[in-house]
């Protein structure tokens, strides 16, 4: 092995260690508050991909940076070595990129999908129908309780530690149902009911953290950016009381 190769190898090790330290040891790569079991699956996948990306990026950057500093010349007077390729290096490259790609397809790709599906299977504790219209949401709870988000102090209230299933649709154009704290998103499509689940963990309130909001995430025209509503996750007892009170008002 020649000196350049050895140098780059060590540069790669140093950069990789540095990168992994930033990810593991600093809060540069921290995530927003998580309010649903599904959110942990998403964050874990994100973390895993980031950690895996570090040695790959470090390798390209080492070669790029080293070549930039070490191999510069001031003019076109001399040619480099006429190397067209190293067969074994190219095959090695193909093998590791293929291996890594297949690996991330399986994990966190397929495993993550299955995990999220598993969390969403089974009988939900609560079904909430959410209907997007320009530019508000109509949230239908059991017992005939309806919240329209253009009303004064409208909010989407949900019980904690519950498997909530959202049935989403639209009355006009495409919208999207997104609660950043849950990391869950699905489009609201006219003529179609799409579903998404969130298994809530921990109490949460928009007033404390803006990740607790139902946000329209698909461009729907004029007031798209204002099509959001606070989300509040409360204890089951509190939720039942809230629902009962609303049901009385509705009746």
């Amino acid at each position: 092995m020649n000196r350049d190769t050895v140098n780059v190898f060590f540069l790669w090790l140093v950069l990789t260690a540095l990168g992994e330290f930033v990810i593991l040891g600093t809060d540069l790569f921290s995530y927003p508050i998580v309010g649903a079991e599904e959110g942990h699956v998403v964050d874990d996948a994100f973390f895993f991909l980031t950690a895996l990306a570090v040695p790959v990026a470090a390798f390209v950057l080492s070669m790029l940076g080293y070549a930039f500093i070490r191999f510069r010349v001031s003019g076109p007077d001399e040619d480099g070595p006429p190397v067209k390729m190293h067969r074994s290096w190219a095959i090695f490259w193909l093998l590791w990129t293929t291996g890594l790609t297949l690996f991330v397809i399986v994990h966190p790709g397929i495993t993550g999908i299955l995990e999220i599906r598993h969390l969403g299977s089974g009988e939900p504790d609560l079904v909430v129908e959410t209907e997007g219209s320009r530019w508000y949401w109509t949230i239908n709870y059991p017992d005939g309780v309806t919240v329209k988000t253009f009303e004064e102090d409208a909010e989407m209230v949900l019980p904690v530690d519950s498997h909530v299933k959202f049935e989403v649709t639209s009355t006009d154009v495409l919208h999207a149902f997104w609660v950043p704290a849950f990391r869950m998103k699905v489009d609201a499509v006219p003529g179609l009911v799409t579903t998404i689940s969130a298994t809530t963990i921990g109490l949460g309130n928009y007033r404390d953290d803006p990740q607790y909001r139902l946000q329209c995430a698909e461009l729907c025209g004029l007031l798209h950016n204002g099509m959001d509503v606070p989300v509040r996750v409360v204890s089951v007892a509190e939720f039942d009381a809230w629902l009962a009170e609303k049901a009385v008002t509705a009746a």
């Binding site: 191999f71 070595p81 190397v83 790609t101 989403v168 006219p190 003529g191």
Partner: protein, 620 residues
Amino acid sequence: MSFISPFRFVIRALVFATIGFIIGSLLASLITGATGEPAEEPMLALGYAGALIGWLLGIGVWDVWAREWIGLQPRSLNAQSWHQYFRFSTDHKVIGTQYLVTFVVVLLLAGFLAMVLRVELAQPGIAFLSDQNYNTVMSLHGIMMIAVAVATIIGGFANFGVPLLIGADDVAFPRINALSYWIIPPVAILLLLTPLFGGFDTGWTAYPPLSTLGSSGTLLFLLAFLTFGLSSILGGLNFLATIVFLRAPGMGWSRMPIFVWSVFCAALISLTATQFVAAGLLMVMLDRVVGMGFFDSNRGGDALLFEHIFWFYSHPAVYIMILPAFGILLEVLSHFARKPVYAYRWVVASMFSIVLISFIVWAHHLYTSGMPDFLHIPFMVTTELISIPTGVIFLSALGIIWRGRLWLTTPMLFALAVVFNFLIGGITGIFLADVPTDIHLQDTYFVVAHFHYTIMGGEIFAIMAGIYYWYPKITGRMYNERQGRLHFWWMFISYNATFLPMFWTGVWGMNRRVADYTDNLADLNLIITGISFVMGASFLLFVYNMVSSSIRGPVAEANPWRARTLEWQTSSPPPEENFTTPPQVVGDPYDYGVPDSVHAVVSPSGGSSDGPAEGADRGA
């Protein structure tokens, strides 16, 4: 009169367009008036069709082409004067330059719109743009940049460069070539008119039902997009034929410059995929204008259908953008590292793999659209497989520069930056291809950051490399190298500082296409806005260098880079027929460091000496 005469074809075209518009809209008012009140949108649509035909006839299709159809003698509008840039010239170098200048102007305009968006986004709340205006500016920025990304390389560099690089005297279909350019100005005019017709708020993706509602600005946008697609199809057809049939004697497929390969692959996609988006847009237009209801669920239509049709084109389309950028990248790296293109055959195979796979990944844009769940895994698999051939491009780029003789001119700096930027763009693409992470990241600023890293950091940086690299060949003058390098560092640093933080705003809950956002993201957005203005200012230096050098720059030699490919073996700028005698290709284009190797025998147009041209015999 002398002031008007250079523009007389443009003026004639505008007059013909007006007549065409009147005829078309009268026809539409007759048709719609027969059963009720004459309707506005059919009149606009048919009027535009008439105007487009009038415009093309007026700009020179009549003289160069249509006279033939009625038995008259056609006449060429080519001339050795700058006047020919304002009419239907069929010289590929003129057309290439028209494309480049047009799209650099569009790039600057769309960049200016981005600055307007950034001012609005500096702080939460609505600052000065109304919601409607924000959406219009955002949508215009999007579609204009998409046009720049699709057409600058394929229309500009490929037109100027491919015939020269393969030793041909022009493209296969010069008149179709001129047609594909002159279709573009009506597109620009339509887009600039949209604000007068109420703007449009659909983004460049034009999803119905939104795009079937709203003001007539949306119709103008749809017509513009459709027309632009037509130009793209014609361009693709032309380059395939040119590359297959017009290569100089001796230029076998394995001696073809890598940029030509990349254009070939991109042209394959242009020719075969663009029809889908055109059909989709036409269906939206029929929904709007005559109420057919393809995408209206109340009448048996399906809103999701459009997303499939749209991305069936628009995912491959990103490879129309990025493949030729890879071509420029490897081309520039090879010449300025003075080493062969590493793993040349693998690179070509990878480009073809990318073309093939790009057709079966489209639904990764639909993970959260409500399409059936079982489609998630297959589309995730195909999408992530693309990273394997893309990895081969990195293998080649790093292989070229490794132990090379890196001459860090402005084009070389931009090419190296493409590797850096696309590394970030490629890796973050995995997060979006991966279903679990995409469910959160879809439609957030993470996506905005990702595609600005691939399209701007990858392709626009490659376009910059190409502009500086071929500038002396195109203009016959040398740009200012010090200003060029200053532009590079200025743009490279401010670009990264602008777009890197957007990954964070996305993860932290900022959705895209909004004028307003939650307060927790205020600081980061203020920083982004501040630095984005520093980046915007770097383009002023670029424009100054380009304009002033084209007037006062030192006269360029035939081959200032001592590069081996054919375009450098003729004068700068090349004569009308490109080479005084047809070149004879006898070896590989990239054999730097190989003793006595020769790429081609060209008799120099300067007429100073015979034998292999300068640069072709280096290493002897």
